[in-house]
């Protein structure tokens, strides 16, 4: 059936061949065979690789939907102690209705742009956006206006990816570019204490003294003159370590639950799709800087337990799903350790030492994306030097 619909390469619809090809190859692995060289090929292809990343993101997405619903009801009632797992159906449905449109807009717009570029540049539709399209909804607040998502997606796909030649050629992570675009273009919608609980901004009869800030926002206030909490102990009372492991926090849709992220992480590590070297060194980098700051201890924020640091905000999500993007990370094995470590360390540094940005993971990873080729360059140079040395001793 699909074969009949295939546009003729010379016919009227020839321009749309990439689009047809995209759908066809989605349904069937084509009967394309090897020509020369290796006659058999490994079963893995890019579609399957990307599909497994999406599978790994599902726990985060589902938990994120529920979490969105929960904080909506918290904002509605003004009751922080609202039991987390009660009104399960209501919360989930609210979250579903809030998050699903973002997913649809992200995929619709992103794939639309992909199709246009595929037609224009006459290349096949590439699978990269299947993952980016899922990542974007997970790293924005649930209340973000859909038109902003659409704008950010177009910006990211065009400027971060297509201008470089598509999947595999991009320098920086596409989803993070979208996030950065939102962050700088619409700061009021991406930070502050109104946006993290769905529906809070529209609410006029707010309960006195009620704040919708994320734990990281409150932590950042330690470095200012008016801290939200009197001490770290008070902070930990409100946002305990176990809350952040479970994910009972307000925040971007998919980033809050350490457990959900770790389920995805396990899948990616087990299949070998994500590099354990990057994830491991990313956490190691975060911990190292965390302990260093503990030792320096100039303000209360610096005293925060490093373990707690790693569970808060987008740190774990960034480590597992963002830093490991094979295209934008370091490509050499040694380079991966350096890259991960620096990115993790940088994330905490930005968090603690720069009050303008409560969260530093996005910035840290984008910066390291840019530096990754440099790291690789030095790693490869050392291999070259080793070879030259062999020549001299021989």
């Amino acid at each position: 059936m699909m074969r009949k619909m295939e546009p003729d390469h010379h016919g009227k619809w020839a321009k749309f061949h990439p689009v047809w090809d995209g759908f066809y190859t989605f349904l069937f692995t084509p009967g394309e065979t090897t020509k020369k060289g290796t006659h058999i090929r490994d079963g893995i292809d890019l579609k399957r690789t990307m599909f497994f990343v999406i599978l790994a993101l599902l726990p985060c997405l589902l938990f994120g939907m529920y979490n969105t619903g929960h904080w909506h009801y918290v904002a509605e009632t003004g009751n922080f102690d609202l039991p987390y797992w009660e009104q399960f159906g209501d919360k989930f449905i609210y979250g579903l209705l809030q998050v699903l449109p973002i997913v649809i807009v992200s995929y619709g717009v992103g794939l639309g742009v992909e199709f246009i570029f595929a037609i224009k540049n006459k290349h096949a539709i590439q699978e990269g956006f299947l993952v980016s399209g899922m990542l974007i909804p997970l790293i924005v607040p649930a209340d973000v206006p859909l038109w902003m998502v659409a704008f950010a997606t177009v910006f990211a796909v065009v400027l971060a990816k297509e201008v470089f030649g598509g999947t595999g050629m991009n320098v920086v992570n596409v989803a993070l570019t979208a996030r950065a675009f939102l962050f700088f273009a619409y700061p009021s919608m991406m930070s502050g204490d109104k946006i993290w609980m769905s529906g809070l901004a529209d609410k006029t009869d707010k309960v006195e003294g009620f704040s919708g800030a994320t734990p990281l926002g409150e932590l950042a206030s330690f470095t200012t003159d008016e801290p939200v909490h009197a001490s770290l102990a008070a902070f930990s009372d409100k946002w305990s370590l176990s809350d952040s492991i479970m994910g009972y926090l307000p925040g971007s849709v998919g980033e809050t639950s350490f457990i959900a992220i770790m389920i995805g992480c396990a899948l990616l590590l087990y299949t070998g799709i994500a590099s354990w070297k990057i994830i491991f060194s990313f956490f190691a980098g975060g911990l190292a800087i965390g302990y260093l700051l503990n030792a320096v201890s100039l303000n209360m924020y610096m005293d925060l337990d490093p373990i707690h640091h790693l569970m808060l905000g987008g740190f774990a999500f960034g480590a597992v799903f963002m830093a490991t993007d094979p295209v934008t990370a370091s490509q050499t094995s040694t380079g991966k350790y350096i890259y991960g470590f620096l990115a993790g360390a940088m994330a905490i540094v930005i968090r603690v030492l720069n009050p303008a940005f409560p969260e530093g993971v996005m910035m840290a990873i984008l910066l390291m994306n840019v530096l990754a080729p440099l790291i690789d360059h030095y790693v490869v140079q050392s291999n070259i030097k080793r070879r030259l040395k062999r020549l001299k001793t021989a």
């Binding site: 692995t29 058999i40 090929r41 890019l46 690789t49 096949a124 094979p326 291999n383």
Partner: protein
């Protein structure tokens, strides 16, 4: 001083259809074909015409740019056709074999007594020189070069490869004569590398005048390139020659009998062969005679060589000059629906190095693989996968990319002198983006050959 090396990286692809250890004979009173295309980079200059009578060992053509290097007929008979392609390029020389297999006589010689120059002359005159290849660039050796060493691998680790211990059993004398001849060609060492995981045949273990090295690990452990890299790596400006173990026997026989004996034991293997076994064959023999009645119906691909590096042969085609194996596997031209056979299937029956297929749970299962690409060609995305199957101190992806953008300086620095396309066969197999990596490396080597040597 021999070396023992253990490799951790690599991959053994386990396929259905290993050859039984039985030797069969085939009747070859038919057309034989020699293709100049089997010798990479060669510009042939013809000596024979259609209708000429030739003996086994008679010169058919020689290298236009290096006239010493001659190519001879594997059988005696009549030249029936010379097939030309575009720009009158010679595609093949067809010879109909006679019943009496007459040989050119090159004279028996005692290899222990003659000089290197005499050895060289006999090899060149008889066309046996074509079995000696050189690294870098993996082409026929230039007789004017001084190699720093000669490497022979005593086993083949590629999928369904012929077992050299079986094939060369009883050829001790000829093998030793071949080795002795090779020792005259270099001031350096002749290395013979055996698999330390098995007991090599006495033809190998009893060889004299060579340094016997032991190596163990997964494929490409049997590739001579891997062995050179770990035993005596090639630096810029150095040259190493390599000879296949079976061809050492042909070299030996040339001196023992004075004849170019082009018979070889080849393995007929693969999942589509009914009874895989060994055959006594001759270079350039028609494959139809060998596979007749022994392959399954349906759309199959006949490969001269192994599944990783071999050449596609048509059903009426002939064995190539370097083919020691025929592999028959199913063609994968059927589209595969995503849920049942395509990219979303659970994957119990599909071989992959990636654990997203459940087949990793059965490490000893043997697979029946077809020629489907299992995906579409993309830019490089996934990193780190090639390094797992590439046991060289070389960055494979960076080297491949440097060839793609044709940076000769960088290629040199990254180690192009040490590699041959076959060393990258596993990288090509695992590549998620389905890029023809061996082809890229071949192009890189051609550039190096033209510009730097």
């Amino acid at each position: 001083m021999s070396k023992t090396i253990k490799l951790r990286k690599g991959l053994d692809i386990k396929l259905v259809g290993e050859a039984d250890k039985v030797k069969a004979n085939v009747d070859f009173a038919n057309n034989f074909v020699i293709r100049p295309g089997d010798f990479h980079g060669l510009t042939p200059k013809l000596v024979v015409k259609i209708g000429d009578q030739v003996k086994a060992g008679s010169v058919l053509f020689y290298n236009k740019y290096n006239e010493e290097v001659k190519f001879t007929s594997p059988v005696a008979g009549e030249v029936t056709d010379i097939v030309r392609g575009e720009k009158r390029k010679i595609l093949s020389i067809n010879i109909r074999a006679n019943a009496d297999n007459a040989y050119e006589d090159f004279g028996t010689k005692d290899v222990t007594k003659i000089s290197g120059e005499e050895v060289k002359k006999q090899l060149l005159d008889s066309g046996v020189w074509a079995f000696i290849k050189m690294r870098p660039v993996d082409v026929i050796a230039n007789p004017k070069d001084q190699p720093k060493a000669i490497f022979i691998s005593a086993f083949d680790s590629s999928p369904l490869a012929p077992d050299y211990d079986f094939v060369l059993h009883g050829e001790n004398v000829a093998f030793q004569a071949g080795i002795t001849a090779l020792t005259k060609l270099t001031k350096g060492t002749v290395h013979l590398t055996v698999n330390s995981d098995s007991t090599p045949d006495t033809a190998f273990s009893g060889a004299k005048g060579v340094q016997i090295n032991k190596i163990s690990g997964k494929h490409p452990v049997g590739n001579v390139g891997t062995q050179i890299h770990h035993i005596d790596p090639i630096n810029k400006g150095e040259i190493v020659w390599t000879v296949n173990a079976q061809d050492v026997v042909i070299i030996g026989k040339l001196f023992l009998t004075g004849k170019f004996d082009a018979t070889r034991i080849i393995a007929l293997t693969g999942s589509e062969v009914k009874t895989p076994k060994y055959y006594k064959s001759i270079i350039g023999a028609p494959v139809a005679k060998i596979v007749a009645g022994n392959i399954n119906d349906g759309n199959v691909r006949i490969i001269g060589g192994n599944v990783l590096t071999g050449d596609k042969i048509t059903a009426d085609g002939n064995l190539g000059f370097y083919h020691l194996q025929i592999t028959v596997i199913p063609e994968g031209t059927e589209p595969k629906f995503m849920m049942t056979k395509g990219w979303m299937e659970p994957g119990f029956g599909k071989f992959s190095t990636n654990r997203s297929y459940f087949s990793w749970m059965f490490p000893n299962k043997k697979y029946k693989m077809d020629t489907n690409l299992n995906g579409e060609v993309r830019n490089f995305v996934v990193t780190g996968e090639m390094e797992k199957v590439f046991p060289f101190d070389i960055y494979p992806m960076q080297l491949v990319k440097s060839v793609m953008y044709n940076d000769i300086d960088l290629m040199e620095k990254l180690g192009i002198y040490e590699v041959a396309p076959e060393d990258f066969a596993l990288c090509e197999f695992v590549c998620t983006s389905k890029i023809d990596i061996q082809d890229v490396i071949r192009q890189g080597l051609d550039v190096i050959h033209k510009e730097c040597m």
